[in-house]
């Protein structure tokens, strides 16, 4: 337990010390929530803007943490030889992965609390939320996006990985049903978007905020999670 806690503390310390990480994990999601809830840029239809935005921004926060933050940090750790060196200690892969996942979960809990408080301040109505369902889909989404992040981090050089993670983040941001619902996109993009994990994830979170669920989407996201985690485990390299 001492070893796991020490590694967890190290993961959190490194994550929090990086200014760009804090920007990605907290400042950007909160700024986007505040900005788009106060403007009329987004086609939210008759729905209350904050009710539409909050689950989307929450899914963006999970993607930021589980995919981009974890993926970029792991890619650079591999490049710097951090993982190779840790591999010569009694830490072991299981404790390393457990510490990384725990660090992500702690950050996501903080994001959930901060975004919920900001959402409430902006007029979000929490009466219809199914909190248990939200938590289940956040866990599923975390697995799915961590799998994508680690797959890229495990195969690409650190700089390529950085570019790929940010590029994919932008794609998910624009086409993933986060700010614009998939059915509002042009038809071709809409079809592509509806199968993307970000679209499925943000849709499921949005459903959970209204206490509903589309079972087929939940199954599809589960398949994504299993596939990405499997690919990450099979393809991952601990050193260049």
């Amino acid at each position: 337990m001492r070893i796991y806690i020490s590694q967890l503390r190290q993961e959190l310390t490194v994550m929090i010390r990086n200014g760009e990480q804090l920007l990605l994990l907290v400042v950007i999601p909160v700024a986007l929530l505040v900005f788009f809830s106060q403007t009329d840029f987004l086609p939210t239809g008759n729905e209350n803007k904050i009710d539409f935005l909050l689950p989307g921004i929450l899914s963006l926060a999970v993607i930021s943490t589980a995919m981009v933050s974890l993926g970029i940090a792991t890619g650079f750790e591999r490049s710097y030889g951090v993982l190779r060196r840790l591999g010569t200690t009694p830490l072991g892969t299981r404790r390393l992965v457990a510490a990384k996942i725990s660090a992500i979960c702690i950050i996501e809990i903080a994001q959930l609390v901060i975004l919920t408080v900001v959402g409430l301040l902006l007029g979000w109505n929490p009466s219809r939320i199914n909190l248990l369902q939200v938590l289940v889909f956040i866990i599923l989404g975390t697995a799915c996006f961590a799998g994508i992040g680690l797959t890229l981090a495990g195969r690409l050089r650190a700089e390529m990985n950085l570019a790929a993670q940010n590029g994919l983040y932008l794609v998910f941001l624009l086409l993933g049903g986060i700010f614009v619902a998939s059915d509002e996109l042009p038809s071709t993009l809409s079809k592509v978007s509806s199968f993307s994990p970000s679209s499925l994830f943000s849709g499921l979170l949005r459903d959970s905020f209204n206490n509903t669920v589309v079972l087929a989407d939940a199954v599809a996201l589960s398949c994504w999670a299993i596939a990405t985690c499997t690919i990450a485990v099979v393809s991952f390299r601990w050193s260049d």
């Binding site: 070893i3 503390r9 190290q10 310390t13 490194v14 030889g81 591999g87 010569t88 009694p90």
Partner: protein
């Protein structure tokens, strides 16, 4: 291979079997391949507790690959490697708790602070050292709040050495420990290496700095093109080749003889 270097090998094998020090690492017929390249070509040696075994040779000669296999970082293509009587890959957990590894490229989070990363590494071992004492031993107490990326080259090397010693290791694998280190830092690292051996640790030290190697070596492994040119106690090498010869002279002579034999 020249007759003399063949003799050296024979002498060494006899000496190993007659020395009283415990064998910490035993390597038999080790081969390491990378795709189309044979990095280590059927080598055998032993390293003993209480001795400094220096590993020398040109870039790409197989030094780091051999150390990586012995420290469990890399799998051998073939051959038998025993570390403290264990398989460094299959028994990685048990081996890792008893070894300290100093990599060539640091392997530290750039934003990590000196004391923080040292304390973390100390926490990874049951038989751990006190982080403050460890930093004092490598003269980094004043830099304890400094980030890794802000340390000088020599300071990074000393911190990297400290992390390798966090386990109070029975075997220390040190890859280029004095590279980029100033004269005082070298003195300090040399003293630590000698003290480790005096305390019964088997020190395996790869280096390009042959004068430094000569000062600390009990035993020498000379690599070239993945093979061992020599595998002998330092005193045997000097007796065989003449006391006035430096390690650099000995290496040059053996390399040239090996090369000329290869071209014949």
């Amino acid at each position: 291979m020249s007759a003399k270097s063949c003799e050296l090998r024979t002498v060494m094998v006899m000496n190993i079997s007659t020395k009283s020090h415990e064998v910490a690492i035993s390597v038999r017929n080790l081969v390491v391949d990378y795709k189309n390249l044979r990095a280590v070509d059927n080598i055998s040696f032993e390293a003993k507790a209480g001795e400094v075994t220096v590993v020398i040779g040109p870039n790409g000669a197989g030094k780091t690959s051999t150390m990586e296999v012995c420290s469990g970082v890399r799998a051998a293509t073939s051959g038998v490697v025993s570390v403290l009587g264990l398989d460094p890959k299959k028994d990685r957990g048990k081996v890792n708790s008893q070894i300290g590894v100093m990599l060539q490229d640091g392997g530290v989070y750039p934003s990590a602070r000196v004391h923080e990363i040292t304390r973390h590494y100390c926490n990874l071992y049951d038989n751990r050292t006190n982080a403050d004492e460890l930093l004092e031993s490598v003269d980094l107490t004043r830099q304890k709040k400094t980030n890794w990326r802000k340390l000088s080259g020599g300071e990074k090397q000393r911190l990297s050495l400290a992390l390798a010693l966090a386990a109070k290791p029975r075997i220390a694998f040190l890859d280029e420990p004095t590279s980029g280190v100033d004269i005082f830092g070298r003195d300090l690292i040399r003293n630590i290496v000698r003290q480790l051996a005096a305390d019964g640790c088997a020190v395996i030290m790869a280096t390009h700095e042959l004068d430094e190697a000569q000062r600390v070596a009990d035993h020498v492994l000379m690599f070239q093109s993945g093979q061992l040119l020599a595998n002998a106690p330092m005193t045997e090498l000097q007796n065989e080749t003449g006391q006035r010869q430096t390690l650099e002279d000995i290496f040059r002579n053996l390399a040239e003889k090996s090369k000329s034999q290869g071209t014949q």
